[in-house]
Symmetry: C2
Subunit: 180 residues, 2 copies
DNA sequence: CAAGTGTGTGAGTGCACACTTACAAACAAG
DNA sequence: CTTGTTTGTAAGTGTGCACTCACACACTTG
């Protein structure tokens, strides 16, 4: 049944985002994502063209979920000004990455951009998100840039575990970042 | 001669930063850094306690160089206001990472923060840089936060190769970032 | 029922790589 | 010269992992 194979791919992709997020591309064996998806390693290799194909597909799924969340967040904005819409998008993003999988996957993907296919997937993901943010919020270039700069700051805060650091420098970096 | 061993360690560390920066911790064999340093793999293992010890030491060297460059940059500031000093520091940082090794190494280190020793090294590095920036520039928390947020944005720009992308969304993200 | 097609796996295979060990040359001290 | 220490390497060893293949069950079609 063709639909079953397609359903499997979705399951595997969700598992892949979670598992790759922890230890990254090179450090996670495809056995691990197969186990997380509840199927055999051999079948994962049939569903995707090698480990790299799996990772690239997972990157697509990751950015899909991010784009959807931001889009939904924009709908809940309090007003029509760029500031209000960006703020609502930021809140939606913060909510989405509460479980950390999507954030950590992005970090892992950025770390293996020496592989051209991954670099292209990352560009495609940010292209999609950035163009939507700009057009939907009617924000200026500078506002969009700021939006992503503080998004990237979240990556540092989470990977370095700065929320747990009580020292002043860490408090300065984490100040105002919504529920990490 | 003890001094020679110490000199070797420095050589190896410089090589390690460059080599790890390209492909990351898990994807680069220590043979590669040994070759870059011009010595045998076995001797690298004698100079450092395993691959992880080498990587952590390289992280220390990386943040040392960053801190030194920012410190030197601050000396060249045009004035005494926080804005002028932060700007001079930003310029110094941008100059330093022109060769990309230090920037990419930071990305790679952030990607393997699931290893506790690496996470601690990253925190120590940012602790050193952030405390210096804040005390030297007498900047507010918000200014320091902004400084690092746009620094992290540079990581995205470089890893995704956004300087090469002519599309509007990419131009918005790269606008005003000093000579990438 | 026979033949074909899609879904799924267990049991390999081969290679890359982290780390060790045994050994050698240089230099120093007595 | 002998003994000891430091610098350095060549040649393993064992393991983990990407990827393959032969095979099996299910389900459809004629």
């Amino acid at each position: 049944m063709r639909s079953t194979a397609e359903a499997r791919r979705v399951t595997v992709l969700n598992a892949a985002v979670s598992v790759f997020a922890r230890a990254g591309f090179h450090a996670t064996p495809v056995t691990a994502v197969a186990a997380a998806a509840g199927i055999s390693e051999a079948y994962v290799f049939r569903l995707f063209s090698g480990k790299l194909g799996l990772f690239v597909a997972a990157a697509g799924a990751c950015f899909d979920r991010i784009a959807d969340a931001i889009e939904a967040g924009a709908e809940r904005a309090g007003g029509d000004s760029p500031e209000e819409i960006l703020d609502a998008m930021g809140d939606a993003y913060a909510e989405l990455i509460a479980d950390r999988d999507l954030l950590l996957f992005q970090v892992q993907a950025q770390a293996v951009t020496d592989i051209p296919e991954v670099a292209e997937a990352v560009r495609a993901g940010y292209r999609r998100v950035a163009t939507f943010v700009q057009s939907r919020a009617q924000a200026s270039d500078a506002q969009v840039q700021q939006f992503f700069a503080y998004g990237q700051l979240c990556h540092l805060i989470v990977t370095a575990g700065l929320e747990q650091v009580p020292e002043p420098w860490a408090r300065a970096l984490t100040a105002g970042i919504r529920h990490p």
